[in-house]
């Protein structure tokens, strides 16, 4: 049976089609999910894509967090369904309190767009099994509010529990605390990532194909589950 990975489209999402393509290239069936629909259509995992959901009004991800589809995503994530939030999706996961902390305005105040080197810090999550710990990858990064912040005790807890999934190498593009590029929840099924692995899955359009591992990882996770 083909694994079905849902990709939510909110008004203002713009990387939903890229995420769907990455899912397809990884060998799963992408399923388009609509923000007003509570039904997840029997998907096995969900990707919350990048973009500017609801125009980023109020705060990034603050309004989409209360969309009907998120009621079900939050409920299923708590039951163990793998959920990956990329960029705006990461912001939605923090606003949903599925992940701790918050994403704030880049310290430079500038929107940053670059090919970013990362180090994978934990390959025990649903979305990073196909990487090795310490592996360095390059994927695109593009954000204006990508600076991860949290209380010192939350940061210490994330570090102690190995929940820092990826860290920026060489250059911190947005002032993120402790160079954090991505984190997971305690169970490891929910991952939020500021850079964009879905833009690094084909040689024609990405700087590398090193982002594909996030999408192949979840397939392995689901097959083994």
């Amino acid at each position: 049976m083909t694994t079905r990975v849902g990709v939510v489209t909110f008004p203002g999402s713009l990387d939903d089609r890229d995420a769907q393509r990455a899912v397809r290239l990884a060998g799963a069936e992408p399923v388009a999910l609509w923000h007003r629909d509570k039904d997840l259509h029997q998907v096995d995992a969900v990707v919350l894509p990048g973009g500017f959901s609801y125009g980023d009004y109020l705060r990034c991800g603050a309004i989409s967090r209360f969309s009907p589809v998120m009621d079900t995503v939050i409920e299923q994530a708590k039951l163990g369904m793998p959920v990956l939030g990329i960029c705006n999706g990461f912001q939605v996961l923090c606003e949903s309190h599925l992940l701790p902390g918050a994403l704030t305005r880049n310290d430079s105040l500038h929107f940053v767009c670059r090919d970013q080197k990362l180090r994978i810090e934990n390959n025990g999550t649903a979305w990073t099994r196909d990487y090795s710990v310490g592996q360095e990858i390059v994927v695109p990064l593009k954000n204006g509010e990508g600076r991860f912040v949290a209380d010192a005790h939350v940061l210490d807890e994330l570090e102690a529990e190995g929940r820092v999934v990826a860290r920026y190498l060489d250059l911190n593009p947005n002032g993120s605390y402790r160079d954090i590029a991505g984190i997971s929840n305690a169970a490891g099924n929910v991952v939020g990532l500021m850079p964009h692995p879905e833009h690094a899955v084909e040689p024609l359009t990405g700087p590398t194909t090193e982002g594909l591992g996030f999408f192949t990882s979840v397939l392995k996770q689901l097959v083994n589950a």
Partner: protein, 84 residues
């Protein structure tokens, strides 16, 4: 109609790059002697009914769950004079 104002500010320990940019621009424009600037949000809520305890409690709940992200922001709620 009554108006309730919700002010939302980044917590003091959270860097406010917008406020800093404004602060750096002020002396260039001749406005000296300003030691710090922080930028926040103000929400003006026009109520349909009276501002009673129940209405204020609902507004505090909205501020807590939606208008402010209490991970990084503080908020205050206050009643303004009757709107015209």
């Amino acid at each position: 109609m009554a108006r309730v104002v919700v002010d939302v500010m980044l917590k003091p320990e959270i860097l406010d790059p917008q406020g800093q940019a404004v602060q750096r621009a002020l002396p260039r424009l001749g406005f000296t002697g300003i030691a710090d600037v922080r930028q926040g949000k103000r929400f003006e809520l026009e109520l349909e009914g009276p501002v009673d305890d129940a209405a204020l409690a609902r507004i505090r709940e909205a501020a807590e769950t939606f208008l402010a992200n209490t991970v990084i922001e503080d908020y205050t709620v206050r009643v303004e004079e009757e709107a015209k």
